[in-house]
Symmetry: C2
Subunit: 238 residues, 2 copies
Amino acid sequence: MFNAYKKLYMSDRQKEHTKNINVHTLEVDQYPKVTLSVDCVIFGIEQEHLKVMLIRSDIAEFRKQWTLLGDLVHEKESLDEAAKRVLQTRTGLSDVFLEQVHTFGEINRHPSGRVVSTAYYALVNMTKCNLNNYEHELHWHAIEDIKELAFDHNKILNICVDRLREAVQNRYVAFKLLPPVFSLRQLQDIHEAVLGKRLDRRNFRKKIISLDFIEDTGKIESDVSHRPGKLYKLKSSS
Amino acid sequence: MFNAYKKLYMSDRQKEHTKNINVHTLEVDQYPKVTLSVDCVIFGIEQEHLKVMLIRSDIAEFRKQWTLLGDLVHEKESLDEAAKRVLQTRTGLSDVFLEQVHTFGEINRHPSGRVVSTAYYALVNMTKCNLNNYEHELHWHAIEDIKELAFDHNKILNICVDRLREAVQNRYVAFKLLPPVFSLRQLQDIHEAVLGKRLDRRNFRKKIISLDFIEDTGKIESDVSHRPGKLYKLKSSS
DNA sequence: CCAAAAGTGTTACAATTACACCCATGA
DNA sequence: TCATGGGTGTAATTGTAACACTTTTGG
């Protein structure tokens, strides 16, 4: 009743205004639509270097420039599903670490028309990837060697690298790359590659063990030409 | 040449496959499009409580339920611009703290059809807001009192509250709410309201002063019925 | 002089960093 | 026996958390 009363005092212009600005009060069919894509920043580690998967663009404006792996979002799939699909198509992998980072909605970021793109990043085991690199030279690139990418992909890549580093340091997502049984050296190698710096072995061990995620299997490495390291596994509660 | 050679060995199915999955190699006009919206979680502080601006939905499915402030993204505006526009339209404010958080792309999140929505959050000075609450009951709600919202807006709100708390603690965004000259009590009140808990006054002062963002103006509060606090301002280097 | 909030310093605890020697293995 | 990397502890530093009394103002 109080609201009805107020409405009497609302000008037509105010009404019009209020009506038009709230999507949640209206049907959406007649509204402008845009093309949506996902871009996946697929990270892997090889020889203690953080690498990212790139492909050659062949649209005219960016001929021969490298780009991230992306695709348009289909009509009947969510953003997360689209990102999983791109990852699965390019690497053959599913069930890997994949997270949304940011959505890039500038009007002119794509030369062929308006494309809003949501960036995801993934951390995958490169040795398990099944690359389909017949066309467009799908390849891994060390991040320190990457020069200019097509579109706004340098920006996207930089944001995703920051996010990956944050996730490795604070959420220990590097565990997701490990085999069921692993040495602390393997884990430390991943951390060092992602962070791009060496870590103190003693402090690293102390920290990881204090997290109480892992337990000693009693087994050790074999076939190494030095003292073999202990092998650990995730605690069942993790 | 190496690539051309490889192509000879690529099956038609592989070619088809590779071509279709990379948006960056194709024109986009013929692709499926979706409706894009932004949802703004507009935070304010009143009486030491964190509040958020909500409005009543009037689409049938959610009649009378509260929703965040959203709108469709226009054809010629970026996501950031759309979020600024929503904020400006609802509060009359521009130049406030506003950041993108996450994009929600589930297929059935909106009952009227597919709407992908990018969530932003803002922290505004409630006393400067010029609310247009004639229709749909645009109002502030204390976050601890919020029950069920329309759409997936509880989820969006929760993620944005977490983000705001992180930003206040680690990036000190509460400074953005302060007038040019302020007391440490004002700053602490904002922190306490956002975090939902009391902070130790001595530790808080020590921490803030150690950041070296602010300097003493030499002035003190007036018109308070107790010992007046010192007034500070941001250092010019900040 | 009373009520209310401002201002202030020390101690304990936790987390992080720096650092050097011996050990187990394969070659 | 040598080269390689594994395994380990301690001390210094830094950051965080807990805690109580005196001061200044208005009423």
